[in-house]
Amino acid sequence: MRRLLLLLLLPILSLQVAAGAEQVLRRGNGAEVQTLDPHRAEGVPASNILRDLYEGLVIEAPDGRLVPGAADRWEIDEDGRVYRFHLRETARWSNGDPVTARDFVYGLRRSVDPATGSKYAQVLAPILNAEAIVAGELPVEELGVKALDDHLLEITLKAPTPYFLGLLTHSSTYPVHRPSVEQYGERFSRPGRLVSNGAYRLAEWVVQSHVKLVRNRHYWNDAATRIDTVYYYPIEDSSAELKRYRAGEIDITEAIPLQQFRWIRSNLGDELKVAPYLGTYYYGFNLTRPPFRDAPKLRRALSLAVNREILVEKITAMGEKPLYSWVPEGIPGYEPARLDYADWPHSKRVAEARRLYAEAGYSRARPLTVELRYNTSENHRKVAIAIAAMWKQALGVKVRLVNEEWKVFLENRKQKRVTQLFRAGWIGDYNDPYTFLEILHSRHGLNDEGYANPEYDALLDRASVETDPEKRFALLRRAEAIALADHPVIPLFGYVSKHLVNPRVGGWVDNILDHHYTKDLYIREH
């Protein structure tokens, strides 16, 4: 009888074990992170981990909408310049200390402090005096940030910045735990020292092996967290990552090897997540030297002769969208300006391209000879070969492909001497057209084209002080149209994000910034 009872109980007991089983998630994470110090970190891999470790004032919902994070509500004054954030009274650091407004003040000041050497201090530029502090002209105390009391934080901007809330999801705005930073200095972000305020805390970090996070029991919303442990594995090589995914060793891949995309689509189709991504793939002209200096017709001809539809269907073939604007689609409320020939049939574009090419002084007998530079990668090579072929066929342009190792490539691009035409890509830092438009501003650090149009700069400058969101978008759109007409760049296609996600992982939602917080994911019970 007793045995029978036991037999009856057994399934129930084991069920309980299953329900209580530890939920472990294993994520591929591209390159190894440089640091887990949120103010000095850079790159996508570090951001992925930092989103789990820390919580900014504002965070993102699984679909990318902005939702309250460490602040549960906020008020913005009528001018759009002063923000008051009410911090959650229940927010705690992973050691149990309360998260206060002073932690945010400390964090934001540290982020712009020149001594910190943050590469992303520019993200905070909208805050009053931030730029002067970064430049070392003002002390950090002058930053437009203050704690009105333990749970009330006030941030003053130099001008209304409609996308400011979106910026607050960036790691350079995260708070840091002051006592540990003061105790350990620069190396506070190592395991055993790092105190964080997000849903997870750092348990292990073996460089080039893994980062292990476990849930932060003090997190204000820990009750809603389901994954107990998450591993991030640095795997640069996407085919190695695919093998480990297929062997069941990781649940989410960071990338997909292009060569195997077809195989993946037909064999792992259900697990493949492809979604629009806030990024543009483009070619830039060096406008400071011949042949492209003062040659708008030639630049327009080259852009016209690229068949973007063929490019995305036959070459990249992962669901990318042909791009006829500078800002990719998908930013709420913003309708990107388009190249005037976006709707022309390809034959008309080629005819126009030939006419302009001839007007610029080139012909089949006297063709343009140009070097196209790209950073070494099989995917970039395929795109470059295809485009070179399109130009040769339509215009007779002679293209020499030059591939360079990443740092060499960047150096040459910035120096603007040997580089004539280069491959580039830009992923938006925040969900606003400005993140794309600003990089063509004559003073911006990524303007490797050397594009300088005073009219364009003036429109951007006007937009950054415009309070009315609609008028602001209208100004930005006018600026975009000017840049498109000038052709400092050839927009090619909009990126897509690509991951393999194991079916046992639940809670995955595609979003345009490709941010996926571990706290929103879970492992399906069987």
Binding site: T35, K119, A121, V134, Q208, H210, Y233, E236, N412, L446
Partner: protein
């Protein structure tokens, strides 16, 4: 013997100095710096970073500073991994590479010597031809082809072993990388062993041993093996060095946190100090291994004496 050892060790210093000087200046000649990224930095921040890591000083002064710190055993901070020093990274990566390397060389030695001896005893017969064909194949297939094949077969299709990762060096994670690393060395050792064994077997000592009526087993194991091992021993030094340093590719493919991986990533990221640290460390290691082999040689061969 002691004098010889001292002489060798002192002689290694100029070698290492040349090595690190070359590495130092070649690294600086590569375009781009450790803090370059797509987004260029505001000049103030670039200046801050350069000052912090002494990159604003003249190159010769930086070189002098590097040598001075090196004399004190300090390899400097890593430019890439801001939270770690190069000493720490080497201390955590080297045991991993060492473990991988030693396991591979041990397997290569045992299997290689056994196969080579077998081939020599069956000279020009099918067993010999079979082993030598296998050895040639092993030498010719590069690591980066072999390793993914092993992963596909044993991890993806059969699911017996993990496809990558280190997992604190558990044996299951070691098997595939060790095989991939050992196989070419097995092949080399087998070929070397076969050649020298054939030669030794033709020698007078063996003829005498056989004439005395010793059983073949004793002849091989007691009299032939030791002299036949000599070329293998001299190969062991460079082979061990090659296996420990040559795990660069294997570590990359299997995602193993060893020194080789630091080396490759360090070079790509222009992490000057990390690359220099690994070069100096590996340089010293290779010099040391060659020295150990020479000592071993003397122990095995009574004809060799060092002064």
């Amino acid at each position: 013997m002691l004098r010889y050892s001292l002489k060798r060790l002192v002689g290694a210093i100029p070698t290492l100095l040349i090595l690190l000087t070359l590495a130092f200046f070649m690294m600086r000649l590569a375009p781009g710096g450790p803090f370059d990224s797509e987004k260029s930095l505001p000049p103030e921040i670039q200046a801050n970073l350069d000052r912090k890591y002494h990159l604003d000083e003249p190159l010769l002064q930086q070189y002098g500073r590097y040598l001075w710190d090196l004399l004190h055993g300090d390899l400097g901070p890593s430019f890439q991994y801001r939270d770690y020093t190069v000493n720490e990274l080497i201390a955590s990566g080297f045991p991993v590479s060492l473990r991988l390397g030693l396991a591979s060389i041990a397997i290569a030695l045992v299997v290689g010597v056994a196969l080579g001896t077998l081939a020599a005893l069956r000279q020009n017969r099918p067993a010999d031809h079979g082993i030598m064909t296998l050895a040639m194949t092993g030498i010719s297939i590069p690591n980066f082809v072999l390793a993914p094949l092993l992963i596909l077969l044993f991890a993806v299709h059969l699911g017996w072993l993990p496809a990558g990762g280190w997992n604190d060096g558990q044996w299951r994670n070691l098997v595939l990388p060790v095989i991939a690393l050992a196989l070419p060395q097995v092949a080399y050792i087998a070929r070397l062993m076969r050649g020298s064994m054939i030669e030794v077997l033709r020698g007078n000592a063996i003829r005498t041993a056989r004439a005395k009526g010793l059983p073949e087993r004793t002849v091989i194991l007691r009299h032939a093996l030791k002299p036949a091992l000599l070329p293998v021993v001299s190969f062991l030094g460079p082979a061990t060095a090659a296996v420990i340093t040559g795990s660069v590719v294997i570590e990359q493919i299997f995602g193993i946190p060893g020194l080789g991986r630091h080396f490759v990533q360090g070079a790509l990221n222009r992490d000057y100090t990390l690359v220099m640290g690994v070069v100096v460390f590996y340089g010293a290691l290779i010099v040391l291994l060659n020295f150990v082999v020479d000592l071993l040689y003397a122990a095995l061969d009574p004809r060799v004496r060092y002064r």
